[in-house]
Symmetry: C5
């Protein structure tokens, strides 16, 4: 199901409307100051073709829209900027990270957004907030609307980064307390998730750098300040991700160190027990031999003396390992 909606600003008011098919787009007023068209669901290739024709999108943009696996990037065409981003969301009890593509076409007074629509409309909230913004830029400029869209995506990343931060802290406690195989698996999943988040944020940062430094006419100087602010956010997020990755590496090292220490401790216990009892067992074995002529066996003090001797050996061994600080 493809859903189309449009938000137009005529200089005084924002008008929101649901639109049916390409005809609805044709019927939109042409003389408004800014238009934002949102298309959810990309499975209708013909519709995409019609939209591309209507707004004179470059054939390569159309190719990218049709291709579901297209990667995050920004391309500057003559009259428009084409941006592909990745939207992350966690779902389910185990908070698996899923990824969705969002494509944005930014023209001088038009923004067109294309969502896969798997996770519902992520821009819902913006539609309500936009009319309330007091800044005068907001209402005149497509680039400012686009700024709000990118802001929503960045905020969404922040949530996910925060969640991974919490997972790192939980894992740290788990590894310090009782490192099990489950900890390794969780750590491994964490590292893979961090990699996935990084793969989404790093291109976004680079895109924002290009957008905030381009002297195209599409983004005016006043609005570019806002893009620089977004860029700073993205830089910070990348730093956070890198720090998280280092923390995760630190947990890996912590795990390995702990494991080798525990192995060592288990080994010491084994060695101490073996070292104490094996000689004693040997002695007991000697006096369990059935030789006819074993004078000690006849002596009434033999038994207590042997027990005493065994005790001394055991004590000696224990003191020896105590000195070696083995337990």
């Amino acid at each position: 199901m493809v859903e189309i909606s449009a938000l137009t600003y005529d200089g005084t008011n924002f008008t929101f409307q649901e639109i049916e098919g390409v005809e609805g787009l044709h019927a939109l007023p042409k003389d408004v100051q800014t238009t934002w068209i949102n298309i959810e669901g990309l499975e209708n290739k013909n519709l995409l073709k019609a939209v591309a024709d209507l707004y004179e999108l470059h054939p390569l943009i159309l190719d990218d829209l049709k291709e579901v696996s297209s990667q995050p990037k920004s391309v500057f065409y003559d009259e428009m900027i084409f941006v592909v981003l990745r939207m992350l969301s966690t779902s389910g009890v185990d908070e698996e990270i899923t990824s969705e593509h969002i494509s944005i076409v930014l023209g001088k007074n038009i923004v067109i957004t294309f969502q896969e629509g798997k996770e519902g409309d992520v821009f819902d909230e913006i539609r309500e907030r936009l009319p309330k913004v007091k800044s005068k830029h907001a209402k005149n400029s497509a680039a400012y609307i686009c700024y709000h869209l990118l802001h929503a995506i960045i905020d969404n990343y922040s949530d996910i980064i925060e969640k991974t931060g919490e997972r790192i802290e939980e894992l740290e406690e788990l590894i310090l307390e009782n490192p099990t195989k489950s900890a390794i698996v969780q750590l491994h999943e964490l590292r893979n998730d961090l990699l996935q988040v990084r793969k989404a944020i790093v291109p976004l940062r680079d895109i924002l750098f290009k957008l905030s430094n381009d002297d195209d006419e599409i983004i005016s100087k006043e609005v570019q300040v806002y893009y620089k602010d977004l860029y700073n956010h993205a830089v910070h997020q990348v730093e956070q991700i890198e720090a998280s990755r280092e923390l995760a590496m630190g947990l890996q090292d912590l795990y390995l160190s702990s494991a080798s220490t525990r192995t060592n401790e288990v080994m010491k216990v084994l060695t101490v027990i073996t070292a104490i009892f094996i000689p004693l067992t040997f002695i007991a074995g000697v006096y369990g031999m059935n030789f006819k002529y074993m004078p000690e066996l006849e002596s009434p003090y033999g038994y207590p003396l042997v027990l005493l001797f065994m005790l001394l050996i055991a004590l000696g061994m224990a003191i020896f390992y105590k000195i070696k600080k083995w337990f």
Copy 2:
């Protein structure tokens, strides 16, 4: 066996023909808009020399064509661009990656491709697709034909990258379930394969960067947009390869952590069994001694009391290790 074919465009139609030797090349119409000559098989050095003479290729190009092991690169000569690429393909049951060189000479209205020909003609499909392209650039420009050739190579890389992605997932499962020596070997092969793919893609990315930013006349501004798109693809592929390499490193760490955890668990089992039975065996040994005067042996309660004592020791040990969370 060297096979030569030509595809010419006279402003209205594409004409494809198989060509016999250099004479056939001489006989090609000179007044067409664009010509694409494809040469499969590089073992006939004389033919290469003749082709180089005919199209006035730089002596260094000829050297590179003769040398089978020439590396991926792009060289800008006055009137032509020379590109060497590596084509990867997987073959056999174990999906071993093999590599083949493709050299492309791009002039203002001519493209010449040289293939080793081991894996058959990889450009077959393009010959059918080209006449169907509606864009007007396509038919006028050698650079646009070259774009299609490069696109085919990039797509081919995508397939291989995807396959390695699947191999990583399979390995992850294998390591988590039952890590064996086979997993190590597979992981090692995976890492080597990733290195090989990277060695092919990174130079291609750099070549595409140069091609899409050069202001040579050979690639017109309209066509350069397509090269930028290819460049973006290549950038993305390099990122995917890097991510795969990190995933592979993560699997390595996962393997080592799992191995150390398993060693630890085996050790604990060994230690617990030893710690429980060795003292008991010692006690049994003591009462197996043949001393004449061992009062306990005479007592009717000696045997059950010793058994009870042994049971208590065993229980004590078991509780002790249970508390230490060893099993």
Copy 3:
């Protein structure tokens, strides 16, 4: 509790005053050469709004002030520079590192500082030092006051870096002497702390680079020399942090090497004891068998000969392991 204070310089004297609310700020003399306003406590959002209106701060500055988690950065607006920094402090017995944000707005003849105020006023000392500075720049330029503020922050980092240096040395000794689980945990905490300090200093270095190279009119050429000096300090601190991180990695390797060596030694002890006594116990077991026809048992020399034989085996084993340098 929000506390506001102002330091004004009228060309001859510095005047310090506590200020009550925004009205007090309105009442400040406008014709002084430089004014420094310090605001401690950011919880009163209305006050922040009023201050922003009074000094015509950019809406994005106000957003950042309201948002507690804003990251270190510097933004150049037309008439002012906005800097956000992180202030570190250690507290408690275990010297945990806590972090606080400080925002600085630097205009041509005004500096406004916003502190969270958790750790008290960190700029106390500067207020006393400023009137004593003899340099003529000091009294004329807001940028020079800002230099002193940044200097105080940098000095504070130096203290923390020095403390981590001491911790590294202590840990090194601990690991070399008696590596325990506590050492791993301490090392892990150290690495996390270093990461946190680095996250604060690296952005500061980049900010200082921008400040000392910008040819804005806000920071005059004479004062920029002082910012370059600060930049050099920050570069050095980053290098120190990086070196500390490498030292910490070295400690990690040291720990792992030591652990594997110790495991090896424990293993050798276990093996030597086992290897010596297990064969002897077996021999004793053989002569403990109850077969009717065991000729050795009858012989009067059986017992001493067996004991001798056992001694020889034990000696042989001991010599063998001595040659293998196992103990």
Copy 4:
């Protein structure tokens, strides 16, 4: 022994001559188009001084020639380029890599090469090839002769890189089949060798980059194409070395993983054997005790029942470890 030779080109022919001392150099014709002087053996410091005076070399060049340990570099003086390179060669059965310095002074129509001469004249072959080169650049330009010299050095690196490639493959097989201490040592030597080769090639690449991009008059545009080709070769070699280093790191990981897996397997065997026999030995020990009142001992079914019981325990243990997939 210092050996001097000269190759001069008078516009039509190459003339080769052995030269005795500096006088011979003075006697060389001045009006030829290009001269290449080769000096083997650097131990005669006076001769070097005389040569430096004759060709007006910069004092720093003379210093570098006298100093044997001078590092690879290129220095651009007003009228000449001074290049120091490292020549690698493998010798002996264990193919140890040895290194020799070659210094090249390149003027407008003169090339002077200084070799240590330990490994014989490495440029022998070039002297024969040069007169056969058909390109017109060859005969007019000192830079083109220098190109051939550098080409010879690059080719020599290729051989060595290829050999290390073979060593990696052999080691891989060795480690996979039967990893021994010898494998570790070989791997360690390989890594050190790769480091040494890298230390020679990386500076050469940087030197070639400078030579092929400098717009000095010494290397003409036509010849610079050849230097760019060499640069591409060097870039490729550095990539190969880096890939080899990664492969070597992979082998290191392969070794460690294999080692930990093998340790684990040995541990399992030990644990299984211990776990099966220690309980049985204990039971045997119990019935070996000499208590007077042990009713089981009197029963005629005692012995077979105990044996059966032991068998059941052994089977139980074996099944337990079989389920745990320990063998």
Copy 5:
């Protein structure tokens, strides 16, 4: 104790004199071509202040001179360049590396050096060499004197780098032959030393880069060639240090691999011994049981048959482990 000395060049001769206090500096002839003032010992802060006043040093230079822990850096003031360097020296039997600061102020015809003076005057030798230098630059230019000072420091680094190279080779042998805890500690110290040397050389390289590329008038074009030569030296030293660090990392890996191999070998010995004797001991235990009805015990062939059976088991085990290549 502060010691001051001056070396002046009046166009024909160098004059060296010891100087008492600031008055002596005032008394120095002003009309000489170049003056080099050397100050050893920085504890007299008043003297430093007086010198700074006399030569009009920037207040920040004075701050840096007073602060002992100032870091390596170069600052370009209007009329002078200020350089801080670190001088390394090894002392004692264990060749511990100690570090000392040297500050150099380079003006158009004056060089002022400030040494901590702990290790004596490191520039002694230069004072003797300078008058012998034949180059005409030497006598006219303060920058050329400064070049000689920097050269002395660079040479001093070379010695230390060479020593670490020797330590690496010794450690390599030690680890290959008999890896002990001492080897780990030595390796750890080596790595820390390499880090310290690197911390001194890397800033020096960057300083030399700046000095040799600055188009200040203080360093003339003719002298800059010499600074470029120093820069090349420093680049090479940094490369050597990096290579040494890689070698040290290689030794770390070598140690860990060896340790895991040795652990494995010890484990195999333990397992083989246990696996052979534990079953035998069990059998002996069985026939040591005191059951009344054990038919084997009565048989005259029981004993030899059991011994034979034991022998067969031992042989079987031994062959089994031989096949598994465990010893």
